[in-house]
Symmetry: C2
Subunit: 382 residues, 2 copies
């Protein structure tokens, strides 16, 4: 392979950044307590409220998305509390491990990673456990690409005293979400996925029903203690600790771009892209991994009869300059993951399909060279 | 005041960035699990080992410095453990609140913020409490500028089964520190002070004596669980959650600059700068706040008979484009803080002294205009 000047990032996060966001990352530091920064922080919180569709509080954290997940657990789960975890992937498993680490009494609704948990299944378990305090689930399960029906989950939970906590790390900004309308109580997420900004910023949105639990929560907490965050927002200080202020500024630049496109338009664009990628996958004689593929990440089954199929991500990266992701944990080698989120455009995905074709060809997979590209192209002719 | 094009940041963190670091912040995102990023993360850890003077493990966190402080507490303090907190400032108080939040049995050695705790005082309390598990202190107390004698603290603690945990947030990279030689067991810090990189990255260094406590610790923890970090470093995966990879790259750029200057040379340069600022302060008929001023931050007493002295930071910022910091908490209005850390050069401090003179003049303080600048200039003639 000749030297590659162009490398493309199509993993399900971190994702590529728009030029405007990159340039913002090179600017001078403004002190996080400067009046200018306070405005920037306030604007960023409002931007998140708008994107999430909530009038509830949004708090900005200096952490990765996992830190925001921990914030949710530490602030609504007291030791011994009964919680339900919907688990059909690596991040469902993360909720499981986290709630257990903080000594919750955890009921798991577990599935293999090619399946999703249905609202009916959740309802049954919730009915059997009326003392449940919180239900933890994923908007988009980053590890499998599956999108569960969090709208119906939240509708069911809203009829009880429990709250719905949604991991929106790879979903927010990519797939539809109307936090208040859908009666979701807590949404958490990170910066490095649909938001088109570097990793290191995270957020948590909390409605009134959940806030009561935050106030009553008996968990040991400090860095992620939301009562501290609330106090500092209310006093105009905005955050209790030093903000990742550069990334907050970058977020506002990205939000300007998102607002100018419109969030529904953006979700439609990603969806079109995902549909086209799925068409290409079929044209390459491959199958989708999940029974319920979402529009943020496409998981593609590695055929069992394809020798060295587990090497697809490494070959695509090392020989063809395209970074996608493999499967995580015990599913390693079973499927690959292609992101459609962040500043990924049609041409990025086109190059990704091209690299996937070349890789499959190299590995001896039977398909017609160009078939994926053609299917992708056809899917995007309006 | 005419429009200001040039604004200078001289707060005790976040600090200004060198051009090279800013440009690094505008580069394309590389996936944090890419082989290139793994090398970058490994190199950054080695850089920290070198700067801290330790052969122990260093872990990189996506958080602010307070997150690194929490990491120390969550990983070495089990509920009910007896700990000693050295507290003569806002960040000593942060150790106090944090250790209490995680249910430690806390013994506070407290002083007013113009004083420091001596090694003799620590020895006395430690002798009276042989069941102490850990001693928490500050290398540089960011809120007061004071530098305690952590070398002697650690020497005393090393003779017991307890460990010394040092908050190096504003000290690391600015004042001398030899973690292993000084027998310090844990050092934590953030990115936005002496390291000349944006906020959002933090670190914790842990030696063998402390690591045993990490393994035995009974605290609920997940995001900051160092056993997870260790597992991922050992497996070559480097970090358990998504890294703030852009800031890690920026850190390596800053470390290249620091290594090329030499750390001892750098510490000397900051010290010279601090000495010159203190000379200027005296020449302006002002007094230093702390009985033991350090070289990272200079705290200057606001004279009680200076009307509107509490407005100094706001006037310097709004009228003269210079950001310094006031005092925190209940000491607000009693002193101001000028940083000498990060990419602050002689000329930045010169402009700061100029703005301070103009501000004092405006407020009617009695001094000779130019006296501060002259003293600063004289102090730096070799």
């Amino acid at each position: 392979m000749s030297k590659m000047y162009k490398k493309l990032l199509l993993a399900p996060g971190p994702t590529p950044l728009p030029q405007e966001v990159k340039i913002e990352g090179a600017k001078d530091i403004v002190h996080h307590r400067d009046p200018e920064s306070k405005k920037v922080l306030g604007k960023c919180m409002e931007n998140f409220q708008w994107l999430l569709g909530t009038t509830g509080d949004v708090f900005l954290l200096a952490s990765s998305g996992s830190g925001a997940m921990e914030t949710a657990v530490q602030n609504v789960v007291s030791p011994g509390d009964k919680v339900i975890v919907v688990n059909a992937g690596n991040f469902g498993t993360r909720w499981l491990k986290m709630t257990k680490a903080f000594k919750a009494n955890v009921i798991e609704i577990g599935k293999t990673w090619d399946k999703i948990v249905t609202p009916e299944e959740l309802k049954k378990v919730l009915d059997e456990n009326p003392d449940t305090k919180a239900v933890f689930c994923q908007l988009s399960e980053t590890s499998t690409g599956a999108c569960s029906n969090v709208k119906d989950f939240a509708e069911i939970v809203s009829k009880t005293s429990a709250i719905t906590v949604v991991d929106g790390v790879s979903g927010v900004g990519v797939v539809p979400l109307y936090m208040d309308d859908w009666k979701i109580d807590v949404v958490v997420g990170g910066s490095q996925k649909g938001l088109m900004i570097p990793p290191g910023l995270a957020f948590i949105a909390v409605n009134k029903k959940a806030w009561k639990m935050v106030e009553e929560c008996k968990q040991s907490r400090f860095y992620f203690d939301l009562t501290q965050y609330k106090k500092h927002v209310d006093s105009g200080n905005m955050t209790p600790w030093t903000s990742a202020i550069t990334i907050v500024n970058q977020a506002n630049v990205a939000f300007d771009m998102i607002r100018s496109e419109g969030k529904e338009e953006m979700w439609k664009r990603y969806s079109k892209l995902a549909v086209a990628v799925r068409q290409a996958i079929h044209a390459l004689n491959l199958e989708l991994w999940s029974e319920c593929p979402g529009d943020a990440v496409t998981a593609v089954k590695i055929p069992e009869d394809l020798k060295d199929g587990g090497k697809i991500p490494a070959i695509m990266r090392d020989d063809f300059g395209i970074t996608i992701a493999g499967a995580q944990g015990s599913y390693k080698g079973k499927f690959i993951r292609i992101g459609h989120m962040g500043a990924m455009d049609f041409y990025d995905e086109l190059c990704c399909i091209s690299a996937l074709e070349k890789t499959l060809y190299k590995l001896g997979w039977k398909f017609e060279l160009g078939a994926g590209l053609t299917a992708f192209q056809k899917a995007l002719i309006d």
